[in-house]
């Protein structure tokens, strides 16, 4: 508890532009005594300004509701002189953005969202700037902070660093060392008569076919809605797409493109040998595979004799503050508290969510978790999701569909060129 008080104090000091005391955070116990904090809290409570009789609503995904409730209780106990009631409501992160856009006034004050939704919220001005930006910047890696920064302003508090996907496999099917190359993964699955499953028709996954070739997204144009792409070498992109396409066609009985729920369910029935699955399915995959469960970063693919690491899309989850909140200060303080090191560690322990906080990420809980390690490793080979517009997903998903489609001839260079050109056009809406 003292640690938190100290944290809040530090925040306040930094925020009010006093020379900072930096990060005083060290890992420690979960809860402490309220009495010990009382002498210091008044100064923390001053942050609230004249806000009192505060009632806040918090949105979190269903799985995290119980833990969020506990954490919010702890938060209210920090400020005994303020009356704070917090209601925690289950709300999926993707829907959160939609609902905020529909009607911000009935939405939660503090809500969890994935990074790719932040843009929409910023455009409609329903998400409030982060008040404790300096503290957030000090405690999180620059990539994460950058993901929620639009026009130089930080809009949300980093919560987790795990909104991505990784290679999950049955370790009796994929031999040790074979998980490193896509070719050997497919070969092992074929040998065992099992499927390799990924959702290749979904832009969230299909982006790997172009990202791996160096054609990456590069932020958004000044109009705030048009996707920018990096310069790319067309021959390389085409070669990479052809390499993927050829593999899918060579292993057409092994490779299966379906929604990712088929991966855990395929493991449980013994149909599936390996797959590219999202972080939210970790528990389901583990239940299905039990001690055969193994996880790794995405493999490499051989293009023109050169092994290329597959580059994926990677997002972070954030906690945002509703710009229409009646208690903007309290909301900011709560959002900052919920994304603090201690709360992140609790989530890592109880829910298996990978912390974004650099200190929390170094803890043993995190390091011993195979799934989290795999996801973190993959994160280093990824493109952040925050700068990807909504229009990106369906055209790129189509690109994925075409690569494994029976109609497509992997050696048809002209078609690949046309495909990539049209896809980019559809994303950019020209």
């Amino acid at each position: 508890m003292k640690k938190i008080i100290a944290g809040v104090l530090a925040v306040m000091m930094m925020a009010t532009a006093f020379a900072g005391c930096g990060e005083q955070t060290t890992s420690g116990g979960a809860t402490g005594d309220v009495a010990g904090g009382e002498s210091k809290t008044p100064s923390g409570a001053e942050l609230f300004g004249d806000e009192d009789n505060i009632s806040l609503k918090v949105w979190g995904p269903d799985k995290s509701v119980e833990l969020l409730k506990k954490q919010c209780d702890a938060f209210t106990k920090l400020y005994p002189e303020k009356t704070i009631t917090i209601e925690v409501v289950a709300q999926g992160e993707n829907e959160a953005a939609t609902q905020l856009l529909n009607d911000a006034t009935t939405a939660a004050d503090v809500f969890g969202i994935p990074s790719d939704q932040i843009n929409r919220l910023v455009r409609a001005k329903v998400i409030q700037e982060v008040a404790f930006a300096d503290e957030v910047k000090a405690n999180n890696s620059e990539t994460i902070v950058q993901d929620a920064t639009k026009d130089g302003v930080l809009y949300a508090y980093p919560e987790t660093a795990d909104n991505g996907y990784y290679l999950v496999y049955d370790n009796t099917v994929i031999k040790e060392g074979d998980e490193k190359k896509l070719e050997t993964v497919l070969e092992d699955c074929k040998a065992a008569g099992k499927k390799f499953i990924m959702s290749a028709g979904d832009g969230f996954y299909a982006c790997m076919f172009i990202f791996t070739a160096g054609l990456k997204t590069d932020g958004i144009e000044d109009d705030g809605i048009t996707q920018k792409f990096t310069d790319y070498d067309e021959d390389e992109v085409v070669a990479t797409m052809q390499a993927f396409s050829k593999l899918f066609h060579d292993y057409s009985t092994t490779f299966q493109s379906s929604e990712v729920d088929k991966i855990p369910s395929g493991f449980s029935t013994g149909v599936c040998g390996a797959g590219i699955d999202g972080s939210w399915n970790v528990v389901a995959d583990q239940t299905a595979l039990e001690d055969k469960y193994a996880a790794a970063k995405l493999p490499t693919i051989t293009v023109n004799g050169e092994e290329k690491q597959i580059i994926s899309m990677f997002g972070y989850k954030f906690i945002g503050v509703n710009a229409a909140s009646k208690f903007p200060r309290a909301s900011q303080i709560l959002a900052n508290y919920l994304t603090g090191e201690e709360c992140q560690l609790q989530r890592a322990e109880e829910l298996g969510w990978c912390p974004s906080n650099t200190a929390a990420a170094e803890s043993d809980t995190v390091k011993n978790n195979v799934a989290i390690s795999a996801i973190r490793e993959q994160a280093e080979n990824s493109v952040p999701m925050g700068d990807i517009v909504q229009q990106f997903f369906s055209p790129v998903g189509n690109l994925g569909n075409q690569l494994f489609s029976d109609k497509t001839d992997p050696s048809d260079t002209e078609y690949m060129k046309k495909l990539i050109k049209e896809t980019l056009q559809n994303v950019k809406d020209v």
């Binding site: 009607d103 855990p264 369910s265 449980s268």
Partner: protein
Amino acid sequence: MIKSYKARRIISNTIIYIILAIMGIVWVSPLVYLLLHSFRAEGMSAVPYLIPKSFSFQNYIDLFVNTGTLNFPRWYLNTFIVACFSCIISTLSVLMVSYAFSRLRFKSRKKFINVGMILGMFPGFMTMIAIYYLLKAMNLSQTLVALIICYSAGAGLGFQISKGFFDTIPRALDEAATVDGATKNQIFWKIILPMSKPIVVYTVLTSFIGPWTDFILCKLIMGDKINNYTVAIGLQKMITQEFKPVYYKQFLAGSVLVAVPITLLFLKMQKYYVEGVTAGGVKG
């Protein structure tokens, strides 16, 4: 001659039986599949075989026991309440509108009929956001009342079939009653309504089913008020990416629970439904 005619009839009837049997199987098998797999004990969302290997009631039990995040019984009750009320209001408005258009003569009746016919042709979801803010301005957002209103407000536009039905009732009846000194109000309640059982049942049935199937409008209106959701949203939620591996079997079980009462109701009322739709459809 007679013999061959008989033989031909037997052959043609056998062919018909075979066709009907095959079609019957095709029509019912998805439902049998649904029923079987709702009792499936093993596996998650998909299994590579048609008939489950083991059966249990666990999926059904889970629906009623694990009410932490997905409170199925509560949503079931909500849907039932909404369906009952909206079906009463809808039936009344349909009957009132179609009676007025069919039996009463007043200025610009034809114009009303034409306007009423085309209004339902604008894609419904386009107007949802407007409906939401109207309800909010009335302080009704996130309530069951709002849902009832939404599902029954437009019901009056579905007057065609029951107007067709009323058209078939001889006008001599009304005239005789008028001669006896009955007002139009009395004619409606005492003469026409008692004769309209088929069309009432038809309207009740169709408007009762509505709330069990809509998940788009309901979701927009309810927002984060999970306790006021209807089963349709719940079922739809169970097969979103986040829940599907774990909840898919419960989705199947929930679907069965929704389908069973409506099916029973339908089978029981089938006769009237056919009568209503026939009489109304003919005249349109």
